[in-house]
């Protein structure tokens, strides 16, 4: 289930992958995550508040993310999410599954177009 994504979970699955990989390097808050997804996809992928936060909460419930309120001087407090050890394992396995999937697609499409 972690590495193979069924059709219905397609979008959510890829969103999980995106979020986990964004917080892998360092903890980020929700707005930062949504900005990064938008920027790095060149504006093609966007998550609104109404989908992003339920997703974050779900990942947190599963124990893949850990959210923590942080107060930095001169700023309002924000909730930062970092990936947990379990989350890291899930990310690795999802990435592997994703790469295999893409490689599979590529082989098919390359073969057809050759």
């Amino acid at each position: 289930m972690e590495s193979t994504l069924s059709k219905t979970e397609w979008k959510r699955g890829s969103a999980e992958l995106l979020i986990l990989s964004l917080v892998e390097a360092r903890p980020r808050h929700g707005y930062e995550i949504s900005k990064l997804i938008e920027q790095r996809s060149g504006g093609t992928v966007r998550f609104h508040v109404a989908s992003l936060y339920p997703m974050l909460y779900r990942l947190e419930r599963r124990g893949w993310l850990h959210g923590r309120w942080v107060e930095k001087s001169g700023q309002r407090r924000r909730r930062y999410y970092r990936v947990t050890r379990q989350g890291r394992r899930v990310l690795a396995s999802q990435l592997r599954g994703w790469r295999e999937f893409v490689a599979g697609i590529n082989r098919i499409t390359e073969a057809e177009n050759a």
Binding site: H29, G30, Y31, S34, H48, V49, A50, S51, Y53, P54, Y57, R58, R61, R76, R77, R78, R79
Partner: protein, 909 residues
């Protein structure tokens, strides 16, 4: 800046999230929308457009809520702090537990003391219960124990109402019963194992060959007896070892099956090893082997299997499925009636009594006493738990005061009182559970110690006792009951008190508590008084027991047990009678006489204070025709020449037995002072004659010796008669050797001499007389240890409790003390003030404790030696000691109070 929160709240409303969770989400989303808004403004949008674009992030009215619902309802979590009423019970409980863990972690010192206190209180009870459980409650480790019944005989003119059976009666019941699927018999016995040099006395059971089959007990090694091999006497020389003896005596040799052992000079083949938990049907007895009854020659039962007259076989049967005990009773009664007609001489008055085996623990006659003793002991140990609970309750009350603000805040935030009580009780329960677990560990350690002590007992009593102490579910259930009982005891009052605060008063009058109003600590004071009283009671019991033990050690037994070596010989085990053994003993004594350092040598059938009692009925000449009145039941022993000299019992008149007394000469006796004054008050007994009930001839008194202690150290002077061993009795005698110097060469010389004279005769129990009679000190020692431990535990717990309460109340009065000092009170006056508070509590406690002790210690009177159960010295001494300890416990906080700086104290709160 736009207000985001109402918008978000409106969308979240249908979810009905817990308040804190909702607030958290609103905070986070509002922050996000604000970030987005600021960014849009920065990119040049006007405020209105930026506002709407940001709000679009929430999409249509219920999309956000729908998405969130799936996540949030999976895991609906109530906030911890306010303790609001919850709809779901278990979820709230989980939360209570988490909160309790957090609170206990915050004060590790309190938690450690509380857990340790409870561990001692609960552990003491669980430990005792584990012993009682092994004796009284644990079912026998056999198949379907509820189907087993014990069969006894009963005769109207017998003292005991539950008698063992005669073997022929047993066989008739077994062969004719239709209601029983099997009927087995067994008889405990002492045997000599491996009679090379010194033999070892082992506890064995002679059993019918269907024993293991009827019980449904499978050996772990080898097999059990083949049924009906015991019909022909002496043809089935096999033995089944107990698991313990296989481990202890044969080093758990896996190849033991088929090998042989020597018992009472006979060779038997080991055919099986019983399972580890099986130790026969009598609780507390730990037989080391089972031997077929047909080997009566080895078992030297003394009563042949064919004799219907002698009753010695314990009988247990298994009911057929669907048969009730009363049906079996009816059937066996009719068989017994038939036997009474057939054998009127032996069976005329015999009736059958059937009891479910589960009801019989040792034998019916002593079971009642076992139950009574158990509950009395549990009662005493229960007091320890009571003190521990009082301690805890005090600590919790003090803590509750410190938590007034927290509790008031929670009440203000809408927590219900029930919920708060539940939360506080959860904390208490957690403490008890921790204490209970630690207590169980203490129990395991205690059980190990007891098992070792029981094995050590082997040196002083001639049977193997063992309880197979293990923690089974009953012990766990008992611990759980103790834990929950304790929780309610110490947790309920503080929880109700703590939660019963009125809001406004607490939040406002926090400082007023420092005023030290007296009524406020009423409950605490009652607790302290109770603790002091209970620990005084326990200490008095401890004091009485310890003084009694010291008395017991100082009691003059009437002989000198020092520097006497003993060795017991059992010619009867190899079938010799008294006459045949005379030569053996003669040579043995002669050889021992000349050993270096040996001063005198004597033989005796039984020794005083070893719990082997022989009673005989006798009457003085001239009064022996008179049936009832003049006949006396008198303790006796058969002894040889120089007995009094060796034991150093003063001969007051006449002489000892000597060479003049032979098997063919006039029968002679020596009496003690008590018997002399009983039979011939004010007259010289020498030359007088008495008759024993079983004798036709008279025996002449040749000497009078001083009274001694015979059965117990605490007994009143008891009539005693010595008969010449050479003229009567058993061939099994104990040799007494009074020596100077080292005992080891004496023992090895005796062992060697016996082997040379007749290597078949078992020699056992080579030990000093002091060790041998130490069994008589066992009861006072056990009593002193038991109550000594309880007393110490009680004292420690009560001191901790008193210290805690005084320290707490003193700290509550810091403000008051400050005022007093500011007004000119001297530090010493403050010290006195606080000390007085402790002293008053202790005095009241001591008064209550003394009154209780006066009423309760009478229970102990039977086990006290040379001291009254209401001994004034003990009562006063212990009271003063306890007062001293309690003063010390209050002194530490009192000194602290004395050093209060008025300036600091007045600023306090």
């Amino acid at each position: 800046m736009p207000e985001w929160k109402p918008e978000i709240l409106r969308r979240l409303a249908p979810l009905k999230l817990p308040a804190t969770r909702e607030a958290e989400i609103v905070d986070e989303i509002a922050q996000h929308l604000e970030d987005r808004y600021q960014e849009l403004l920065a990119s040049g949008q006007n405020e209105d457009a930026a506002y709407h674009t940001s709000l679009d992030e929430l999409e249509d009215e219920d999309f956000f809520a729908r998405n969130l619902r799936r996540v949030e309802t999976e895991f609906h979590c109530e906030p911890i702090a306010p303790g609001k009423a919850s709809k779901k019970f278990f979820e709230g409980t989980l939360q209570d537990v988490r909160y309790a863990v957090r609170m206990l972690r915050k004060s590790p010192g309190f938690t450690a003391v509380a857990v340790l206190t409870l561990a001692l209180g609960i552990g003491a009870n669980t430990a005792l219960f584990s012993v009682i459980n092994a004796v009284l409650f644990r079912p026998l480790p056999v198949a379907a124990p509820h189907e087993l019944i014990d069969v006894y005989n009963s005769s109207p003119d017998e003292m005991l109402s539950h008698l063992p059976l005669a073997y022929p009666d047993y066989a008739d019941f077994r062969d004719n019963s239709k209601t029983l699927s099997g009927l087995l018999g067994f008889a405990p016995n002492a045997l000599a194992l491996d009679p090379n040099g010194e033999s070892e006395m082992v506890t064995a059971e002679g059993v019918t060959s269907n024993y293991f089959d009827v019980l449904g007990v499978q050996p772990v090694l080898g097999r059990s007896f083949e049924a009906r091999q015991d019909v022909v006497s002496g043809t089935y020389p096999v033995v089944v070892l107990s698991y313990n003896s296989w481990r202890r005596k044969f080093n758990a040799d896996p190849a033991i099956i088929g090998s042989t052992i020597r018992l009472n000079g006979n060779i038997l083949t080991v055919i099986g090893v019983a399972p580890p938990n099986f130790s026969g049907l009598i609780r507390g007895l730990d037989p080391e082997m089972w031997i077929p009854l047909s080997m009566e020659s080895i078992l030297h039962l003394g009563d042949p299997l064919a004799d219907r007259g002698s009753q010695w076989l314990f009988v247990t049967g298994r009911l057929r499925p669907g048969v009730s005990a009363s049906q079996a009773q009816a059937e066996l009664e009719s068989i017994a009636d038939g036997l009474a007609l057939q054998y009127p001489k032996s069976n005329k008055d015999r009736t059958v009594v059937i009891l479910p085996a589960s009801q019989v623990k040792i034998i019916p006659e002593v079971d009642g006493a076992m139950y009574a003793t158990s509950f009395v002991l549990l009662g005493f140990v229960g007091l320890i738990l009571l003190i521990a609970c009082a301690n805890l309750a005090g600590m919790l009350l003090a803590r509750a005061s410190a938590r007034r603000r927290e509790i008031a805040v929670r009440l203000a935030m809408g927590a219900s009182r029930t919920r708060l009580i539940r939360q506080l009780l959860t904390e208490s329960l957690l403490l008890s559970l921790l204490g209970g677990s630690l207590g169980l560990m203490l129990t395991i350690a205690f059980d190990r110690l007891v098992s070792q002590a029981l094995q050590g007992l082997r040196l002083v009593i001639p049977v193997q006792v063992g309880l197979g102490l293990t923690l089974d579910y009953r012990v766990f259930v008992f611990t759980l009951i103790a834990v929950s009982g304790a929780t309610l005891l110490f947790g309920l009052v503080p929880a109700f008190k703590a939660s019963g605060l009125t809001l406004s008063s607490t939040l406002k009058e926090e400082a007023a508590s420092a005023g030290g109003s007296r009524s406020k600590h009423g409950t605490l004071k009652v607790l302290v008084v109770g603790q002091v009283a209970v620990s005084l009671l326990l200490l008095i019991c401890a004091g009485l027991s310890i003084r009694s033990m010291r008395n017991a050690f100082r009691v003059d037994p009437g002989f000198n047990p020092n520097d006497v070596a003993t060795a017991s010989f059992y010619p009867s085990y190899i079938g010799m009678n008294a006459a045949q053994s005379v030569a053996f003993y003669k040579s043995l004594s002669d050889r021992a006489q000349v050993l270096p350092g040996v001063r005198s040598v004597a033989l005796a059938e039984r020794l005083p204070l070893t719990f082997v009692i022989q009673v005989t009925s006798c009457a003085p000449q001239g009064k022996d025709a008179d049936e009832a009145k003049s006949w006396q039941d008198v303790d006796r022993s058969n002894v040889g020449p120089e007995y009094s000299q060796t034991m150093q019992i003063p001969v007051l008149r006449g002489r000892e037995f000597d060479e003049r007394d032979t098997a063919s000469s006039t029968a002679v006796v020596i009496v003690n002072e008590a018997l002399a004054s009983l039979f011939w008050p004010g007259q010289d007994p020498i030359g007088r004659r008495i008759r024993f009930r079983q004798d036709k001839d008279y025996s002449e008194v040749v000497g009078v010796v001083r009274n001694g202690k015979y059965r117990t150290l605490g007994e009143q002077p008891r009539p005693f008669v010595y008969r010449a061993a050479v003229q009567h009795g058993s061939p099994d005698l104990t040799m007494l050797i009074r020596f100077t110097g080292d005992s080891r060469p004496v023992f090895s010389a005796v062992r060697e001499d016996a082997r040379q004279l007749d290597s078949r005769i078992p020699v056992m129990q080579l030990q000093s007389l002091e060790d041998k009679i130490s069994v008589s000190l066992l009861l006072p020692q056990i009593g002193a240890t038991f109550f000594g431990l309880l007393g110490m535990l009680g004292l420690v717990l009560a001191s901790v409790g008193l210290y805690g309460v005084i320290a707490y109340t003193a700290s509550q009065r810091t403000h008051e003390i400050g005022i007093r000092m500011a007004l000119g009170a001297k530090p010493l006056e403050i010290l006195r003030l606080v000390l007085r508070q402790g002293l008053v509590l202790a005095l009241v406690g001591v008064a209550v404790g003394l009154a209780t002790a006066l009423a309760v210690t009478r229970v102990l009177s039977t086990m006290l030696y040379g001291i009254s159960a209401t001994d004034a010295v003990t009562f006063v001494g212990i009271s003063l000691f306890l007062l001293f300890v309690t003063m010390m416990a209050s002194y530490i906080p009192a000194r602290r109070a004395m050093r209060v700086d008025p300036m600091v104290a007045l600023r306090y709160e």
